[in-house]
């Protein structure tokens, strides 16, 4: 298939594998930030191709995994209201809140609809003027512009039966928190290519300088990741700490200015709780004050309940790259995709789910 097969070519992959092997002289710990990259690495077995002295640890870039329980509980509460149609990306439906999940809310009569695009949710609002459509706006800088566009459009059309439950998160503050942690062992980062396509990668330059750590903006296909790994270890072996771009066909230093403008018109930066990671200052987005008519939290006066999470899994350490999914004693035993103990086992971008689906046969 055009524009896909080129980036999965076995011969080119093996050439990059050999180049990496020739370049590495000692152990390095690398982190891919984005969950989409984690899945490519595990699905295609990229970690089986690179020298064992290179350790790939998986970052916190799975939005479904880090969306706080409190917001999932709010989405479930909204879905239970008879006037509400709750639209969400399919991945969020199985993520457990403190007591239930959206699939169960649906089975109990809640009108929960999986959509592929926030524009579908907007369409539902136009089609059902007697109902109120809430879109569960999760994700990083990648999904934020399209979600912002729905509010922009709803305001323009005077559509008052549409709102967002906003759970947006920002990547650079989380990477800063990770680098600042005394337990951090990551020496180089594969930066998220699609986030950078929107925001530009200049945002990572300060982090690179401050912590003396290299970043390579990487894509999502097997060859993208192999090339990003090669660029990253070249920097490390040469003692450089710069921001480089592997994903040149999509990401630029300045990013998509129009998307950024639309985002900042609709959203403002706020502090956010990350599931498994805790509170991180300036790491989220919320709707601006003037947009209360499209803010589900304000329309429905949703109380910020503190949702308690009983102990059970090591997802916090998995999300921080300190441990691997298969280090967890519950992995594949008490914790499976049908009965997840933690969000990383639920999402198609979660590290535990990637290992469960693709790697169980290699478990010791």
């Amino acid at each position: 298939m055009k524009y896909v097969d080129e980036y999965r070519d076995p011969q080119l992959a093996h050439r990059l594998r050999d180049a990496i092997a020739a370049r590495v002289t000692r152990p390095w710990v690398l982190m891919e930030i984005c969950g989409g990259q984690t899945h490519t690495l595990v699905r295609y077995g990229i970690d089986q191709l690179i020298p064992p002295s290179l350790e790939l640890v998986h970052g916190p870039g799975c939005p479904v995994c880090v969306t706080p329980v409190e917001l999932i509980d709010k989405a479930i509460a909204l879905a239970a209201r008879p006037e509400v149609i709750l639209c969400s990306y399919g991945d969020m439906l199985r993520v457990p809140g403190s007591g239930s999940d959206l699939l169960r809310a649906k089975a109990l009569g809640g009108d929960v609809r999986a959509v592929y695009s926030p524009l579908e949710a907007l369409q539902q609002a136009r089609a059902h003027p007697e109902r109120h459509v809430v879109f569960f706006a999760v994700g990083f800088e990648t999904t934020a512009p399209a979600n912002a566009a729905t509010v922009w459009q709803a305001r323009r059309e005077g559509l008052v039966n549409f709102s967002l439950l906003v759970a947006h998160l920002l990547v650079p503050p989380a990477i800063r928190a990770l680098l600042a942690s005394p337990r951090n062992s990551v020496q180089g980062f594969i930066a998220p290519g699609h986030v950078c396509t929107v925001t530009g990668y200049h945002q990572y330059e300060a982090l690179s300088r401050e912590f003396r750590v290299p970043f390579v903006v990487g894509g999502f296909e097997p060859l993208d990741l192999l090339e990003a790994i090669l660029m990253l270890i070249s920097q490390l072996e040469e003692g450089r700490a710069e921001v480089e771009n592997q994903y040149v066909r999509s990401a630029t230093r300045d990013g998509n200015r129009e998307a950024q403008r639309r985002m900042s018109e609709i959203f403002e930066v706020c502090d956010r709780e990350w599931r498994g990671l805790g509170a991180i200052p300036h790491s989220g987005l919320r709707l601006r004050d003037g947009l209360a008519p499209w803010d589900a939290e304000k329309i429905f006066a949703l109380e910020g309940r503190s949702s308690k999470e009983p102990a059970g899994c090591i997802s916090a350490e998995v999300l921080r790259g300190i441990r691997k999914p298969m280090d967890c004693p519950e992995f594949g035993r008490r914790c499976t995709p049908e009965a997840p103990l933690g969000a990383p086992m639920v999402s198609s971008e979660g590290a535990c789910s990637a290992y469960y689906h693709y790697r169980r046969h290699l478990a010791g």
Binding site: M1, V4, R8, P10, A13, H14, V42, R43, Y44, G45, I46, Q48, L49, V69, R94, P96, G97, S98, D101, L103, R104, K106, A107, V115, Y116, E120, Q123, A174, A177, L178, S181, P182, R183, P222, W274, G276, L277, G278, A279, I280, E309, P310, A311, G312, C313, S315, A316, R320, R334, T336, E338, A339, P340, L341, G342, S348, Y358, R359, R360, H361
Partner: protein, 351 residues
């Protein structure tokens, strides 16, 4: 990510047991399997059922009968390449065929929602008549129920089928042995993607048609050519992955598939890339998987390829002693990964 936070960071309690039925319980994947294991099998326990094949084989006065039933709730009722009626006829014929049975008779039961257009019903029934005639299997009994408006979704159809199995034929999903070959009769995923493209809101167009077809002559062609066939399946809901996982689990063997040997049409690959689906999990309605002993594999492949429905047949993998119960895939890059059973529900109501 304050350090003090990490100590208390935890995850929610598992939502294992469900006290309500979820859509995923009808997916043909792991949730369906748990429903069988926990509710139906303990209640109805008997040797014919316990084989867990697509059909029961029962002996009556020295004759071996194959008996099966299937309900169809596909949405929309009409889709490129077929409709709920032709699907209901072919689907039940296929459940008999993969047991090595010659299909003899079908039943058809209709659950109709009040308000359904009579024209729709007529078109569905005409299509069933035509599918039954093509396959040479008459519909000999039936039933109709009508439910109030809003209590059904247009039309649901149940078909049951009766067939006869030769004395020497003994196929079952528990008979795969290490060294056996895995054969697939053609390209996967067309049915699921053709249905998906018809659903509202997705906004993509395709020329793909469902592969819905009766497989009994294809199945008979393999069985005529070699006696090495261990079992056959038609990978419908849950896709190729779920069918192979069921065989691996019931036979206590592993499998190793070769990614490049699995035929997938470009349109299906493209749609799957866009929608984040994996063709291995997408439904088929006219494909056959056969596990065949090594010495009969080439003959079986030749038999498949000589049939109009099997021209693109491939040997896609081998049954292994390693990792029993798990299906692994050798990727184009030479690495290895699991092909798991479908979890949850990739795409509801595709059959």
């Amino acid at each position: 990510m304050a350090e003090n936070a990490s100590v208390t960071l935890t995850c929610p309690a598992p939502l294992t047991a469900s006290d309500t039925v979820l859509l995923g319980h009808g997916s043909g994947g792991t949730l369906s399997a748990s429903l069988l294991r926990e509710i139906f099998l303990p209640a109805f326990d008997n040797p014919a059922l316990a084989r867990l094949d697509d059909q029961a084989i029962v002996g009556v006065n020295g004759v071996r009968l194959a008996f099966t039933t299937d309900s169809f709730v596909v949405k929309p009722l009409f889709f490129p390449g077929g409709n709920i009626g032709s699907l209901a006829v072919n689907g039940t014929i296929n459940d008999l065929a993969v047991g090595g049975a010659t299909p003899l008779f079908l039943s058809a039961a209709f659950i109709v929602e009040e308000g359904l257009s009579m024209d729709v019903l007529r078109r569905v029934v005409r299509s069933m008549r035509s599918a039954a005639a093509t396959a040479g299997v008459p519909i000999v009994t039936g039933d109709t129920k009508v439910v109030e408006k809003g209590k059904g979704d247009g039309l649901f159809i149940n078909t049951s089928g009766l067939g006869i199995v030769g004395r020497e034929t003994d196929l079952s999903a528990n008979q795969a042995r290490p060294g056996d070959k895995v054969l697939l009769s053609g390209t996967i995923g067309q049915h699921g993607i053709a249905i998906l493209a018809q659903r509202e809101g997705l906004g993509f167009a395709t020329t793909l048609e469902s592969d819905s077809a009766p497989l009994h002559t294809l199945a008979a062609a393999i069985l005529e050519r070699t006696s090495e066939v261990r079992c056959m399946r038609d990978p419908t809901r849950g896709g190729l992955s779920s069918a192979l996982n069921e065989i691996a689990a019931q036979s206590h063997v592993g499998m190793e598939l070769v990614e490049q040997a699995i035929p997938v049409q470009q349109e299906v690959r493209g749609a799957c890339e866009l929608l984040g689906l994996d063709p291995l999990y997408v439904a088929n309605e006219g494909k056959l998987v056969a596990i065949v002993g090594p010495s009969g594999a080439e003959q079986a492949l030749a038999a498949l390829r000589a049939h109009p429905l099997g021209r693109e047949a491939q040997i896609i993998g081998t049954v292994t002693e390693a990792h029993p119960g798990l299906v692994a895939l050798r990727t184009a890059l030479g690495t290895s990964r699991i092909v798991d059973m479908l979890t949850g529900d990739q795409l509801p109501r595709i059959c």
